[in-house]
Structure formats: structure tokens, C-alpha cells
Symmetry: C2
Subunit: 216 residues, 2 copies
């Protein structure tokens, strides 16, 4: 199951539906903050490279969102850490946690540095030919109003086995589902960031746009 | 198709086989170095967190290997960059490339900082309960002498669809295959780093050890 994060820090769940098992929360414990930091770290590196490789300001924007979110989380974890330490053993453990948090922020800042290149007035793409080598592409796609994928789970759609495409994250209203598992159902309005071979991505895009009923 | 990298920088292919399409090379161009840096970046963040989560010095070691490799690549890319720039436009482009390389090294250093925690004399795991939340585990497993998986491709074995397990990297002799695609065949001696739900990993482990013939 993916982990839901509400970017705008609202208390009220905004997309909660009874049948939907996802947990939505504002991270409050050190553990929860660390989990979100880990998810951001893994996602932001993928996205930063994608932004650069595809010269995509759109994906660079997502990187910046995540970078800001990471800053907030690092602040929050420091506060929580100071409040949590009672004994010397606690403090030692928590010092380790803060070191991890620091490293996570360093990673997200470095990802932010990468995409900053895209805001320079470079007219040429920086790495125009890299993608051919990697064979994979990353795309941000939204689900069409009439897509047959709406309401179906990722597993049910056989996205991975039919297309080789892997969904990195789903942006749903103000939040994210990082690395969604097979039981996550797609919804109207979802924005999907996925990686895979070019033909597979195109196939998946057609499903999302309602051009085909099932993956071929 | 995954990208093969020879860690020990040998010129002679050591695991080349006629039927095996993988390209093995020593990166010589800026493009090739960048691709390897990108692969390391994505892998090292996953591995650093895994090392921490599972208190695994074994995986921490892989992180350190990759960190050292990244240092070498960053040195190499600077040399190549200086030799490559002929015009002002070249130089601008290459300055961008060096910024990406710098950020990549920062990321790998941060990953190295994370796992350094494991070399302290901490007797308690740092993040003992995080894994329960994420639901996934990362494991490093070697393929058994009698495994029926030897010589079969990842796609053929249906690893992803049967177990939900994704192979992050295969360590083969002195090199790595990062993010192997479905057509990569497993070989005797392979060390496989994979992520997935606990039961799926256990299922895959049994296949690799030769305890079962096919994934159930």
C-alpha cells in the first residue's frame, strides 16, 4: 500500500472514500516523518534526472515541490527529536535519526540543484542523447475523463506485465502516493508519473486517455 | 536492457558470452559516465535506506563501493569535460553537465553518510520499526548452484507478476547490472539485490536456492 501525504498540511482528509484503504495523515511521529523523507528521497532523484533528460520544466516543478516539502519535514523532525529525547540512550538513537534526516535533505537539495539548470536560459537541451541509451522514459500523464482505467487497481490493469511500465508516484489532489502497490485504484483526476520503455508508456498513455479499453 | 559496468576497470570482458546481448564497457564518453552516475544515484539511495532499515552492514558495504565508484566517475568526467570544450557553447553545455555530476556525487556522499551510522558501536537498530510501515523489504541474495532460475530471463521467471519483487541490481563478478530489464538472464554466481513484499521475497529466495522449481 502506498503512503499518502497531504502536501498542504490540511487536517481534513480531502479524498477519503470509504472503500479506499489508503491511510492519509499528517506525519506526527519521528517515524512517520522519516518514512515520508525516505519516499521523497527515492522519488526526487528519479524525477530530477527525468526533468533533465527530457528537458521538462513540468517535472522540475515537482522536484521543487518535493524539495520544499523535505525542508519542512527536516525542520519538523528536529523539533520532534528535541522533544523526544529523555535519556542518553534516546539521545544517541535520535542523533542517528537526525543524521539520516540531514542526509535526506542533502539528497533533495542536490536534486533541486540539478533541475535548477532548467531555469537558465539554455536553449539547447543539456543531455539530449542520454535517453536513447537508457531505453526508458519517464512521463507525467493525467487520466482522461472516459478512461476505462478509472476505478481499476494497478494490479488489475496489468500495467507492469503488459507494458513494462512502473508507476513511481500518483499525484492525487494535493497529495502524493509514492510507489503505489498493485491494490491502489486509479481515480478521476489522478496525475501519474511513470517510467518504462517508450512503447509501453505509449500503450499506457492510450489506456489513460480512453483510446483503448485494455492494455494490448 | 541493463547497463553493465565493470567496477575494476578491466579492459577484458570477464563475463561476456556470445548469447548475451548486454553491453559491457568502460565508460569513456561524458554521456556514458553520466549514465553510470545516474544509475548509481538511483541505486545508492535505495541501498542506503535499506542498509539502515535492516541494520545491514552487508548492504552498507555495497553503498560504500558505489560511493567510491562515483568519486572516480566525477574525477573522470571533469577531465573529459576539460578536454571536450572547444567553443563557448560547448563550455556552457558542459558546465551544466558538471553541475549534474556534482549533484550526483553529493547524493552518493549523502547516502554514504547515512550508512556510516552502521559503523558506530550502536547496539540497537536505528530505525527498528520503519519496515513494518513500508511493507517492503530489500534483500541481497545469491543464486544457488542448483537453482532452476539459472539461465532463465527475469521476464520468463515472472518474478514481478508472481511475487511483486523488483530486482534493483545484479552484481555479477566485478560488475553490476543496474535495473535489469526482463530479457536479462540470471547466471550462476549472481548476487541479486531486490525489493518487494516480504512473502514475495521469501518465495523468490526459495526459487534462487533451488527449494522450488517455479514461483508459486
Amino acid at each position: 500500500m502506498g503512503i499518502h501525504i497531504n502536501l498542504k498540511m490540511k487536517k481534513v482528509p480531502r479524498w477519503k472514500e470509504a472503500e479506499f484503504e489508503e491511510i492519509e495523515y499528517e506525519p506526527t511521529s519521528i517515524k512517520e516523518i522519516l518514512i515520508e523523507m525516505k519516499n521523497i528521497c527515492e522519488l526526487i532523484v528519479d524525477l530530477a534526472y527525468s526533468a533533465i533528460l527530457f528537458n521538462s520544466k513540468e517535472i522540475a516543478e515537482e522536484v521543487r515541490y518535493l524539495e520544499v516539502r523535505m525542508d519542512k519535514l527536516n525542520y519538523q523532525i528536529r523539533i520532534n527529536a528535541m522533544l523526544a529525547a529523555r535519556t542518553k540512550e534516546d539521545a544517541e538513537k535520535i542523533a542517528g535519526v537526525l543524521q539520516i534526516a540531514e542526509a535526506a535533505e542533502t539528497i533533495s537539495n542536490a536534486a533541486g540543484d540539478m533541475v535548477q539548470l532548467l531555469s537558465y536560459k539554455l536553449t539547447h537541451p543539456i543531455l539530449p542523447n542520454l535517453i536513447k541509451e537508457s531505453g526508458e522514459v519517464i512521463k507525467k500523464m493525467s487520466i482522461g475523463e472516459n478512461s476505462s482505467a478509472i476505478g481499476k487497481s494497478i494490479g488489475e490493469l496489468k500495467i507492469s506485465s503488459e507494458t513494462g511500465v512502473r508507476i513511481l508516484a500518483i499525484r492525487r489532489k494535493d497529495g502524493w502516493i509514492y510507489g503505489p502497490r498493485g491494490d491502489v485504484k486509479l481515480r478521476r483526476g489522478d496525475v501519474i508519473i511513470c517510467i518504462g520503455p517508450e512503447e509501453g508508456i505509449e500503450n499506457f498513455r492510450r489506456l489513460l486517455k480512453g483510446e483503448i479499453e485494455v492494455l494490448e
